[in-house]
């Protein structure tokens, strides 16, 4: 992997983490994890939250690719897209491969 590719990937991961690093959005993801389509009123149910606030949070999740929006008539329905979560593992793998590289540099530095 080239440095710029890795850098871009790490930036994407940072955005994903930021999107998940909010209790409301994390609880929305937890509701969506059943892989079904959900309406905004379903998702704002039992919450002290307006439809507007829920929509705002869903847009953040949509921007990082965690949520897909489907228009059905006048209503918007939301569904989870798990592909970015799979890439959380990629994020750790990238950092791990950086450690492999750094440790090798350390070994060469000491042994030379």
């Amino acid at each position: 992997m080239t440095h710029s590719t890795a850098a871009r990937k790490i930036k994407d991961q940072a955005n994903l983490f930021a999107a998940l690093g909010d209790p409301t959005r994390l609880s929305l993801v937890a509701k969506l994890i059943d892989n079904q389509l959900h309406s905004i009123s379903e998702l704002s149910n039992n919450k002290e939250m307006t439809r507007q606030a829920v929509t705002k949070h869903l847009t953040v999740l949509e921007n990082v690719g965690l949520v897909t929006k489907i228009k059905e008539g006048r209503e918007s329905l939301y569904m989870i897209d798990t592909a970015p979560l799979k890439s959380l593992q990629d994020y750790l793998d990238i950092i791990a491969s950086q450690w492999d590289k750094s440790l090798l540099q350390l070994k060469l530095f000491i042994e030379e």
């Binding site: 940072a14 994390l26 979560l85 950092i95 350390l106 070994k107 042994e111």
Partner: protein, 150 residues
């Protein structure tokens, strides 16, 4: 060696005595050389050493919050790995902990590095709301992994 949900563990055999490995890790000038970062001060327990990485595509300001320096077998610091996004205030985020463990053996030193406390876990800890749900976040992530592996 593993990369589980929130821990990275790596190790390497270095053909040199522990004292030499320990010095390369904890002496800021040496660290700067093999790690490839410009450091502004020595490493001291409880202090923060600021640094800059100039590598193209990886330009970033790095902060090493030094936790413990235990000659000749342990060194740890907290930091944000890859603080690449200039628009994010990383000081507000939970840092990860990097720990180095040194073990002497007949051919030199076995060095282990463990990085723990990645943000997903931080996020789930912040998100007390999630506990209202039947499954915790980590369990859900495992389910997603199982689902994707099918």
């Amino acid at each position: 060696m593993q990369n589980s949900e929130n821990i990275i563990e790596r190790e390497i055999q270095i053909n040199a005595p522990m004292t030499k490995v320990f010095k390369a890790l904890t002496n800021a000038q040496s660290f700067a050389q093999w790690f490839g970062v410009h450091l502004d001060s020595e490493f001291k327990e409880g202090k923060t050493t600021t640094g800059k990485n100039q590598l193209k595509g990886f330009e970033m300001d790095m902060n090493f919050h030094i936790k413990e320096i235990k000659p000749q077998h342990y060194f740890s610091y907290a930091w944000t790995p890859f603080p690449l996004d200039k628009t994010i205030d990383y000081s507000l985020e939970e840092p990860t902990l990097v720990e180095f463990f040194l073990e002497e053996n007949p051919i030199g030193t076995l060095l282990k590095v463990r990085e723990s406390g990645f943000n997903l876990i931080t996020a789930s800890r912040r998100a007390k709301a999630i506990e209202m749900h039947s499954m915790g976040w980590v369990a859900q992530l495992e389910n997603i992994d199982k689902f994707l592996a099918r």
